[in-house]
């Protein structure tokens, strides 16, 4: 307690202007800590910094990247293994510039390219909250990347030069406050682009393709643009709010990594913030893409796929592909079903998937695995059919894609 007060004083002594006002703020004030707690929810910090069954924020959750595995570090105030020896400025530098204590460059699995947009005030509140956590001694070896990616990143990182531009979010005066709040959340703490924006060869965001859908951890995070076929163009703001709040709406049910994001983060957001996110997302330009034409009904893959669908899938997803709201996702005219990349579809058929559970929608229905009794060709055919029936149109799924993914997910 005394130490903290001294630190606050020391910071206040060497700061000027806004920083002085901020430092004079009481880091133990309820309002600030509570705001920090909520900001941590907005940022889904639990997702990476809490291991399954582990102590809150003590680190250890694994993130699979194309370059190897990274573990979320311990961010409790433990001096030896957490961020107990950090200062608020250290956290600011980490979130804003991607540089950890003592100048260590962070791997961009820590979404600092998004967090850089977070205001200094918000980072300060996050800091205030993190300081209230019980320090947990938990040694995490975050960097488990393959060579050469495991080598400590140099002080001037090429990656950052190519992929990263620090800078706090600047609001657009032409747009409403609600829209700007949504943009701040989606582009900043919410770091939606980390999963949903296509990546370049180095793993950085592809400029100009924000939120157009991307592959990560053998899941395809779908297109969030207003594209009516592959994006969420047909969803109203209310549909988006309901999805984020409960994990389910009449179109879809969250599963995979999004189920975790819903459970840890979006379901705990305020309605006002969810509406802001929806306002921003519904206002985005649809991506420009070539229009797909559905495969012919008498295509042999369609004929085979239809037979499999009727026997294996129709009992839940209904013959018309309509699904059952809150229970079985609709397949007809569904964005994920028609996405350019069918990885998520192949994955759920191969090994199944469980939907998000929230207090508002606790059902958590699951899709059973079919990989054990459907061949790669059968899975490809049924998905090709699903992607081209009931008004859907998308590329056929090659059996080799199923074979490849089967090898990866059954490792």
């Amino acid at each position: 307690m005394r130490m903290r007060n001294l630190m606050t004083l020391a910071l206040a002594g060497c700061a000027i202007g806004l920083a002085a006002a901020r430092a004079a703020e009481d880091n133990q004030a309820f309002e600030k800590i509570e705001r920090g707690r909520y900001l941590v929810v907005l940022g889904d910090c639990v997702g990476c910094h809490t291991a399954p069954g582990g102590k809150l924020f003590a680190g250890g959750a694994a993130l699979e990247t194309p370059f190897g595995k990274l573990l979320g570090p311990n961010i409790t105030p433990d001096v030896a293994t957490g961020i107990g020896a950090w200062t608020e400025s250290d956290l600011w530098r980490a979130m804003h510039e991607g540089i950890g204590r003592d100048g260590v460059r962070l791997y961009p699995a820590m979404p600092y390219p998004s967090y850089t947009k977070v205001t200094r005030e918000d980072v300060s509140a996050i800091w205030a909250y993190l300081r209230t956590l019980e320090p947990v001694r938990n040694e995490v070896q975050p960097n488990q990347l393959r060579f050469p990616f495991n080598v400590r990143r140099p002080a001037t990182s090429t990656w950052d030069l190519i992929n990263f531009k620090p800078g706090v979010f600047q609001s657009d005066p032409a747009k409403s406050d609600v829209w700007n709040r949504g943009a701040y959340l989606v582009e900043g703490l919410g770091h939606c682009g980390t999963c949903h924006t296509p990546k370049n060869i180095t793993g950085g965001d592809r400029g100009g393709e924000a939120l157009q859908g991307a592959l990560l951890q053998d899941w395809y995070a779908p297109d969030l643009t207003a594209d009516p076929r592959t994006g969420i163009g047909s969803w109203s703001a209310e549909d988006i709010v309901r999805y984020l709040k409960t994990g389910a709406n009449s179109f879809d049910i969250a599963s995979g990594p999004m189920a975790e994001a819903v459970e840890n983060s979006t379901s705990r957001m305020t309605d006002a913030d969810l509406l802001a996110i929806a306002t921003y997302l519904t206002d985005r330009t649809p991506r420009i893409e070539d229009t797909a034409i559905a495969l012919a009904h008498d295509d042999t893959r369609m004929v085979a796929g239809k037979a499999i669908y009727e026997v294996r899938c129709a009992a839940c997803h209904i013959s018309s592909g309509a699904g059952v709201p809150n229970l079985f996702p609709r397949l007809a005219l569904a964005p994920l079903v028609q996405s350019t990349d069918p990885t998520s579809l192949i994955r759920v058929v191969l090994i199944g998937s469980r939907a998000a559970a929230t207090s508002a929608a606790p059902t958590a229905p699951a899709m059973p695995a079919f990989g054990w009794n459907l061949s790669d060709t059968e899975i490809a055919d049924v998905l090709t059919y699903v992607r081209n029936a009931w008004g859907n149109a998308a590329s056929a799924v090659p059996p080799t894609d199923v074979t490849t993914l089967r090898g990866r997910v059954s490792r």
Binding site: A315, F328, P365, P368
Partner: protein, 588 residues
């Protein structure tokens, strides 16, 4: 060595319907609840996915979802002159196993009992006089009324999303529903299921004879439904794999599809599976339960202390645990005294098979409880005076399955195997129809449960012994009902009709229903009942015993709706009465 665990507020033995309901209500009241379940965890998508759930050999023939007799069984005899022998393969009834219990494998027929069923002795003696009842019949009043239970029936049906048509809303008879039912406070949560051809034909025939057919209330849902806990159930696909099977389509009401998703989110709830409770422990006074002892799958023995013990296992195992734990006075049939093991009862079903030349029934379009029924011959809905028996049952065309192994009906004279049999099966599969009666089974002085003198289980406890046979009253009832049913089926126009009334003696190897009842019944006084009207033990007030164990006799209905309603009734009594003043809720 038994290791003692930290105490909890509530320990629940068995995590089926009643255990789930009580756990949900009591965790909601802020209590810490530990549920101990003998079998495995069961989850819809991983334990009975549509890719293999419809496997008759695995589930119906090999009993995949049921208790293994090697783990625990009981002995059986028809009467006291015989030596009871252990049941080594389940036949007449099916003890469930695993999370969800019987709620996983039931047909989901969701009936309320008649108002007169709850005051049976008073009602029958009032109408017919004491002498009309057989001398050795031991039927009793329940100690509660239909009106007491109505809000709790309603709560359970709205948990399940039950599909049906009300026959009596607040005293107003509704067209198309069961006119005999007690008054309900509102319509069913979802409309009736669509009826296939057989039930439609049966309903037409019954209506033509002046009866009032109605759709059977069903926990196989007619449409998607989200219950008050926020849990969504899907529409039934009419696949016909309900009884004996778990539903892979999330469309049959079960603890998994209605209550567990909400319950497992509660931080003050914990389930321990593959753990078998071997004993309910009492303190030195013998008037208070101190918790339970259980054995885990590694053979380790644990003591779980608790302030409140809720016995929520299958009916027979509730009685068995009471007997082996020395709680309550065991029933002695010679003296007619004692309460644990008293008034065991079962069910009396029968059927009428019919073979048609000109009709295609498509028996594989089925659900556990789809069908059209009449209730004119149930309970005391008709004058028993001229017939010389009491009791009755509902009857109707209930199209539960067309499963390939067992639904192979052939006319009586057909050979049991070979080319002629195959020909007859092929001819009859689509064009035969079986209608059923679901009759009451009243209780008798000699029918009871006690501890077997010879056989023990793997813990060295004495097995429980069943002494049961049908009595003349029930056999007369079955013959009468089967004759009435046959009259309706005859109007459906079959080529050939075969009556199968229930005949004695009772055979423990032939399946009828899993509706075994009684043994630790509820009632108005401790001399003749083990439990008071709140299902609280008269002897050990911090022990409550759930399920059909409490039924003083069995009416002509399936039990689950009443089992669920009683669980809510007890939960209400615990939360609103017992917790405020722990102790006996009924003073004598």
């Amino acid at each position: 060595m038994t290791r003692k665990l930290p105490a909890t507020d509530v320990v629940i033995v068995g995590l089926g319907w009643t255990g789930s309901i009580l756990a949900h209500e009591l965790t909601g009241a802020g209590l810490n609840v530990v549920a101990i379940e003998r079998g495995p965890w069961r989850d819809t998508a991983t334990d009975f996915p549509p890719a293999y759930a419809q496997d008759e050999l695995r589930y119906r023939i090999r009993h995949d979802l049921f208790l293994r007799p090697e783990q625990l069984t009981m002995t059986f005899r028809n009467n006291a002159s015989q030596t009871a022998l252990p049941i080594r393969s389940w036949g007449s009834f099916m003890p469930p196993n695993g999370v969800g219990g019987g709620g996983v494998h039931w047909n989901a027929e969701t009936w309320r009992f008649l108002p007169s069923d709850f005051e049976l002795r008073t009602h029958l003696v009032g109408r017919y006089g004491e002498k009309f009842l057989p001398e050795d019949m031991t039927i009793q009043d329940w100690g509660i009324t239909y009106d007491d239970l109505e809000p709790h029936y309603d709560k359970f049906e709205y948990l399940c999303g039950t599909s049906g048509k009300a026959g009596n809303i607040r005293g107003l008879i509704q067209a198309g529903g069961n006119p005999f039912e007690g008054a309900r406070s509102r319509e069913y949560p979802t409309p009736p299921q669509k009826q296939p051809y057989g039930p439609t034909l049966f309903a037409q025939a019954a209506q033509g004879m002046g009866y009032k057919p109605f759709p059977q209330p069903s926990g196989n849902l007619s449409q998607p439904y989200t219950n008050p806990l926020g849990v969504t159930i899907g529409p039934c696909t009419y696949c016909g794999f309900c009884e004996w099977f778990g539903c892979g389509n999330y469309s049959k009401a079960s603890p998994q599809t209605t209550i567990l998703p909400a319950l497992i989110r509660r931080p003050n709830f914990e389930a321990r599976t593959q753990c078998e409770v071997s004993k309910i422990n009492l303190d030195k006074s013998g008037k208070r339960a101190s918790g339970v002892t259980y054995v885990d799958s590694s053979g380790n023995e644990w003591e779980q202390p608790a302030d409140l013990v809720l016995l929520c296992a299958f009916q027979l195992f509730n009685v068995q645990l009471l007997l082996t734990s020395g709680i309550g006075k065991p029933y002695d049939p010679r003296a007619g005294e004692g309460v644990i093991g008293r008034n065991y009862s079962y069910q009396v079903t029968s059927s009428v098979g019919a073979f048609f030349d000109d009709k295609i029934f498509n028996p594989f379009i089925a659900s556990g409880s789809i069908g059209m029924c009449i209730d004119e011959f149930n309970g005391d809905n008709f004058d028993h005076g001229p017939h010389g028996f009491v009791g009755g049952g509902y009857m109707g065309a209930v199209q539960t399955n067309g499963r390939p192994i067992q639904t192979a009906r052939t006319p009586r004279a057909t050979p049991r195997w070979g080319a002629e049999w195959k020909k007859a099966v092929a001819k009859s599969y689509l064009s035969s129809y079986e209608s059923v009666t679901h009759g009451s089974c009243y209780s008798y002085r000699d029918v009871h449960l006690d501890l077997d003198p010879t056989y023990t289980d793997r813990f060295g406890r004495k097995l429980m012994r069943l002494t049961f046979d049908f009595h003349d009253n029930e056999l007369k009832m079955s013959t009468y009902l089967t004759d009435r049913l046959a009259e309706v089926v005859q109007k459906m126009g079959p080529r050939q009709l075969e009556k199968h009334p229930r005949r004695g003696p009772y055979d423990v190897t032939v399946y009828q229903t899993t509706h075994t009842c009684g043994g630790a019944i509820m009632g108005v006084e401790p001399k003749t009942s083990a439990l008071n009207r709140y299902l609280q033990s008269w002897d050990v007030p911090n022990l409550f015993v759930m399920g059909a164990t409490a039924f003083p006799q069995n009416p002509g209905y399936n039990p689950t709706d009443t089992v669920g309603a009683l669980a809510y009734w007890t939960a209400d009594a615990i939360v609103n009465r017992y917790l405020k003043s722990p102790g006996p809720l009924v003073q004598i």
